[in-house]
Amino acid sequence: MNCEASILLLSAFVLSFALALSLYTIGGRISPRSREEKRRAGKTIPYACGEEPPPIKETRINCERFFIFAVFFMIFDVFAFMVAISYSAPAYLSVLYSLIAMMAVTLLIVRKA
């Protein structure tokens, strides 16, 4: 990555962020302010039609059943990157590598099913 591209990339991000920020400020100018009495009217409590919303501490998501997928996710992220930069390597090596990865996925599917 050359110097010019990195400057351009940085300036593109800065310009985009500036645009987002200016839209945000314009929105702040043209929208009504939230006043104190409104806050007391319950506008700033989480949305649940005026009911007591389900307490956040009890909202637990069962991520354990996806744990094995998460581990495989990490391994395969490396796999994708290795394949992506493999175009100068001999073809049989990439194919061999892909075959091993395919076997790993098959094992995962068989174990889960």
Partner: protein
Amino acid sequence: MMQNVLLMAFQLLIFPGLVFLILLAFIFEWIDRKVVARIQSRYGPLYTGASGILQPLADFIKLLSKEDLTPESADKLIFTLTPLLSLSLVLTALFLFPMASSHAIINFEGDLIFLMFILTLTVLNVALAGYGSASSYSVIGGVRSALQLIGYEIPLAISLVGPSLSVGSLSISKIVEWQASKGLWMILLQPLGFAVSMICLLAELEMIPFDIPEAETEIVAGWMTEFSGRKLALFRVSKDLKMLLTTALLASLYLGGAQQLGLAPPIIVFLAKTISMLLLMSLLRALFARFRIDQLVSGMWKYLIPLAILQVMLVCLGARG
């Protein structure tokens, strides 16, 4: 020198830069809404502008001028920063695509990897937004969005590697150039990879078969529940831009992107290709119903990853064997 800088500034700001991209994103939302409405025997947006073409812009301005409420329990910094980040990240990624010529404004070796980094970052941003709103619906939506990432990120990455393997470069501009010089579209060489990345990008967009993070029948609006006013407006426009981003990705990698076809200049060809991809996505969105999250994750690993790896192996054997 001065002229170069001015030209660059024009390209970054006006065409094919920020102004053009945002207007195009609004038009894309209009097309999407109109097509889905027609498939469902509705009219879709009708009144603002000619057959409702200004409706997304009107919605955006309306949201900007609405009261911006921050829940008491929310993390103020995250709650303010995530809408800004979601818009600016997607806009930055859009500069990597060649639109007005065969070269993107920003092109360097490896920008495909950078693009995938940004796509992942937007999802993490969503998870952070859900976490920062501190409402149970938002938290559930954010976690679901991260879980969904575990499903579709790998097949997407592997199938996007396919075109770059054939070309021998990780730069989107070079992949587009290669297709133009060979007069051959990548979709003909790698139909499997195209199908896999199409499905994964639908999941990336949280469109209907995969709209698990914002399933409105169970968790209100998912991670977006607590956002209102200008923050919601920024999220909406960044979603439209993401639609543009995914269609541009498909069009550039698999349909030849911005190339000169006969008399048609690259920008017209690019628009035609992205809009055709958008029509396909809207069609899929209107046809399917929502999957369950375990169906999504295990289905992606069961079917899409083997298909994507198969595609990569075929490319290795065919293109360089």
